[in-house]
């Protein structure tokens, strides 16, 4: 069993961290404060090949493994969890196409993302259905030579900038999750209405909105698989996307740990650096332990993807553990910084605000536990 990164993975990580340090960290505070979308940084990241890591080489992708993908995502999240949410949303939208699309659809939808800089959103959550995703009410009706979509989506990342939407709706509410279908929609289609940008606690550089669909006509060729295939596509997608999102929590946690260690060595109180006080030492020890454990879960969950092995249980462990740990770690980072940590002048309060969302999206920590228990008690 080899726990080390390959030479190539180390180079990939080096590049991604260099980008995070040089391009993202210096801009993170301003983008967070102003709620500014990081389009320049997003584009630069795309130009370097750091975006859309899920696209297979047959469709123009670089040929990264799932493990390569989380290595990159962790490094970018180290730069800014908020910006990484925007970057990752591309993969979260494109994965259903990779998993459920046919060859023609993959060429039509995925390849352009490798040829020019494009942004995507996936639309699943609704104002009345978050955790209960199976109960979504957005309707996909058969209109003869096209589908007609009606409904309302909420908390859609990148909505204001997307070139492509992947929308989950149902062809028959009574079929519950058996009616759920996934379809690719052009955001410029008549009838699509974007809500105003949400004013959020964290991930403030990420553009998040409600999206309303009013009799939106979509070509028949845009449905991924058959009507009713959507739930399986979504579940399969989660097995890939949960480790990815977990890696974002991991990157943020690592940043919080690094900042805390540096501060503890520098700040003196009672005549010594606070790193000499056991209370602080114990906090840092907990942080280090959790980061290492989270990393191992994230890597294993991704490795299982690459092995073609079903990883639902470990993916849930990774997502819940990494995000819950990140919340604790970033909270402790603020604590270690004391009064200064509470000030927006210092970087840690943003990390704490950003950590919260990762416990909520991509399956709340509570839903993850239901998934874990179900797997364990099968």
């Amino acid at each position: 069993m080899d726990f080390s990164l390959s030479t190539e993975q180390r180079e990939i990580q080096e590049l991604a961290l260099k980008f995070a340090r040089n391009e993202m960290i210096p801009q993170a505070h301003e983008h967070d404060e102003k709620g500014k979308f990081p389009d320049e940084i997003f584009r630069k990241a795309w130009e370097l090949g750091l975006i859309n890591t899920c696209i297979p080489p047959e469709y123009g992708g670089t040929g990264f493994s799932a493990v390569d993908g989380v290595i990159i995502s962790e490094a970018l999240a180290y730069g800014c969890m908020g910006m990484n949410t925007s970057f990752m949303a591309n993969d979260l939208a494109l994965l259903p196409i990779v998993i459920g699309g046919n060859d023609e659809q993959k060429k039509r939808f995925l390849t352009p993302f490798t040829q020019e800089f494009r942004i995507a959103s996936f639309c699943l959550t609704e104002p009345g259905n978050g955790s209960d995703a199976g109960g979504i009410k957005t309707q996909i009706k058969d209109g003869g030579d096209h589908w007609i979509i009606n409904g309302e989506k909420m908390w859609i990342t990148n909505a204001g900038y997307a070139h492509l939407f992947v929308v989950y709706g149902t062809v028959d509410v009574n079929l519950k999750h058996k009616g759920i279908s996934a379809i690719v929609v052009d955001p410029k289609t008549v009838g699509i209405e974007l809500g105003k940008k949400e004013d959020k606690m964290g991930h403030r550089s990420s553009d998040t909105r409600g999206v309303r669909f009013n009799n939106v006509k979509v070509p028949k060729e845009n449905m991924l698989g058959k009507p009713g295939d959507g739930w399986a596509i979504a579940m399969n997608t989660l097995d890939h996307s949960r480790p990815l999102v977990a890696s974002s929590a991991l990157g943020g946690a690592q940043r919080a740990l690094d900042l805390s260690i540096a501060y503890a060595k520098d700040r003196t109180q009672f005549g010594v650096p606070i790193a000499k006080h056991q209370a602080v030492q114990f906090m840092i020890a907990e942080m280090g332990m959790k980061v290492e454990a989270a990393r191992l879960l994230v890597y294993k969950a991704s490795w299982m993807c690459d092995q073609g092995v079903r990883n639902t249980e470990v993916a849930s462990y990774a997502k819940a553990f990494a995000s819950d740990s990140c919340m604790q770690i970033t909270t402790d980072a603020v604590q270690i910084y004391g009064g200064y940590g509470y000030s927006r002048e210092y970087p840690v309060e943003k990390l704490m605000r950003d950590a919260k969302l990762i416990q909520i999206y991509e399956g709340t920590s509570q839903i993850q536990r239901l998934v874990m228990a179900r797997e364990l008690l099968k």
Binding site: H29, D266, R267, Y340, E345, Y346
Partner: protein, 320 residues
């Protein structure tokens, strides 16, 4: 006793001070000086006073401006067959460029940027910093002679009572040879200041500056020592300086060789931006100001009195 030639760079008719530092330290060895171009009798006396036995003035066509090939050709022709054990030079811009090429003409080695040395029975042993000064090491030379050494300016210091030499001056016909890379134009340094993040010397004003106009005295100091002026957050928040000048947690992070903090209390936000400065000087009227715990040299006093005096003393030191 070693036979040493010291290559001397001349600027505006004056020998560069590093030459005098080298000569002073070479007491006990035989030291000659080689200069490209002419040198006044007064300068020759100065060299003699510090230990030069012979001062050779190498003159010839195409040597009026520096060129690595021209100077290397002229000097190597002069050095050939003269039995010098060592050739020393200052590790100046010119020295760093010229000496490696010159040494290679003799298939010889060069110990560069040496900060101290001894001669043990005619054999050179030097000390030099490595890894950006994070460690020191002993450096010795081996192989064909003469051996070459470049000395970091200002590292040796001037010898208090140097042993004088005879200072016999002579002209030498020098041959610049074939020059393929020649200076066609000189561009003077612009007066626009170096950015804070790149600056080697920084002078910062704090809240005690009282207003923006008072930064004038810092600008005057900065002009004399070639510094860039910064400001603490307190000064910026009070409107005394623009945010672009702010050094600190939410300002710029700087790493100069010399940081002079004037009326800066040394709050933790400020320290975050300048803590890796090599040498820190602090001027503050409050003897308990936190900045004094970080300063290498702390001056307790009124900055409005101290800074102008500091400017004058620097002017004297730098001969301005």
């Amino acid at each position: 006793m070693a036979n040493v030639l010291v290559f001397t760079e001349v600027h505006d008719g004056h020998v560069k001070p590093v030459t005098l530092e080298i000569l002073g330290k070479l007491a006990g060895q035989t030291a000659d000086v080689a200069v490209i171009g002419d040198l006044s009798a007064e300068q020759v006396s100065l060299l003699a006073k510090n230990g030069a036995q012979n001062v050779h003035k190498l003159k010839g066509a195409n040597l009026d401006k520096y060129s690595p090939e021209g100077y290397a050709n002229a000097l190597s022709e002069f050095i050939k067959g003269k039995n010098y054990d060592y050739v020393f030079g200052g590790a100046t811009s010119m020295g760093k460029d010229l000496l490696p090429r010159l040494a290679t003409k003799f298939d010889a080695g060069l110990a560069s940027d040496v900060v101290n040395f001894t001669f043990d029975g005619g054999s050179f042993a030097g000390t030099r910093p490595l890894f950006a000064g994070k460690c020191l090491a002993k450096v010795e030379l081996t192989g064909p002679k003469p051996h070459f050494v470049s000395i970091r300016p200002n590292a040796l210091g001037m010898t208090a009572n140097p042993t004088a030499g005879s200072g016999t001056a002579s002209d030498v016909n020098a041959n610049a040879g074939d020059i393929r890379a020649a200076i066609k134009e000189m561009i003077k340094a612009t007066s626009t200041k170096v950015d804070l993040t790149e600056a080697n010397i920084i002078v910062t004003g704090g809240r005690a500056m009282k207003n923006a106009e008072n930064f004038k005295i810092l600008n005057e100091l900065a002009d004399v020592i070639g510094a860039t002026v910064g400001a603490s957050r307190a000064a910026v928040d009070s409107g005394f300086a623009p945010h672009a000048m702010q050094v600190g947690q939410t300002g710029k992070t700087v790493a100069p060789t010399l940081y002079i903090a004037c009326g800066v209390s040394g709050a933790i936000q400020h320290l975050a931006g300048m803590r890796t400065s090599k040498v820190i000087v602090a001027i503050n009227s409050d003897p308990d100001a936190p900045i004094f715990t970080r300063a290498d040299y702390g001056i307790v006093g009124d900055l409005f009195q101290v800074v102008p005096v500091l400017t004058e003393e620097f002017k004297k030191l730098l001969g301005k």
